[in-house]
Amino acid sequence: MIKSVVERIRQRGHGKIYLTLLILSILVQAFGAICTKFAAEIGSSVSLFGLNAVFLIYCVILGGMGLQVFLWQASLRHYTLSFAYPFRSIVSFIVLFAAFFLFQESVTFFNVLGLVIITVGIFYLVKEKELLD
């Protein structure tokens, strides 16, 4: 009895860790997209710590890609693809949010509706992937 309770608590703890990894993976991906836009916005003549700023941001983006792949793979050890993959569409919403607040881009009703529809489409594709896995 006590053993099964301890095991349940342990499993819940693991679940939280993997959910954190999944969310971190999404945040890193969104951060990479924002950095890419930032690198595109600043001029190539701008320097940081004596190095070209665009090059530095490019290195950060590449590092972020590596970290994102690591976190994503780690979370997939616990979650099925059909559960984890739709989370990636959250990145689009974070990016839309950042586009509005950080880069002063306009956000329309059709933008939000389009993203919701794209997310539904991803659900369908993932359904298929899960069957194949």
Partner: protein, 110 residues
């Protein structure tokens, strides 16, 4: 217009890189860490690095939100290339997903 063409190149390159990763992982299946160091996997990492550079260039002319919505077309490109090169079947769910994503991208850019 050139930025849109560049974004399409990015989508195709990203999809091709995913296919190479898949091929590399299938060839090196069961060999543990070697899967990540297989030449096809290494080549796909190189493509991802090139894609990151090209994305910076594309975003010079495109809004962040537009670029990111367009890259959703990768979800369509991968099944199409998988069908063409890996002979993976195109099923009803895949077709429905592809159609819904296409509609979403069109509505996003309305």
């Amino acid at each position: 217009m050139n930025y849109y063409i560049l974004t399409i190149v990015i989508i195709v390159l990203t999809s091709a890189a995913h296919l190479l990763l898949k091929r590399g992982s299938v060839i090196a299946a069961g060999s543990g860490m070697r899967m990540y160091l297989h030449p096809l996997s290494l080549f796909s990492y190189l493509i991802f690095a090139i894609v990151a550079f090209l994305s910076i260039t594309a975003m010079k002319g495109l809004d962040l939100k537009v670029f990111f919505a367009l890259t959703s077309l990768t979800y369509i490109c991968i099944p199409v290339l998988s069908f063409a090169f890996l002979k993976e079947p195109v099923t009803k769910n895949k077709l429905i997903g592809i159609i819904i994503i296409s509609i979403g991208v069109v509505i996003f850019n309305f």
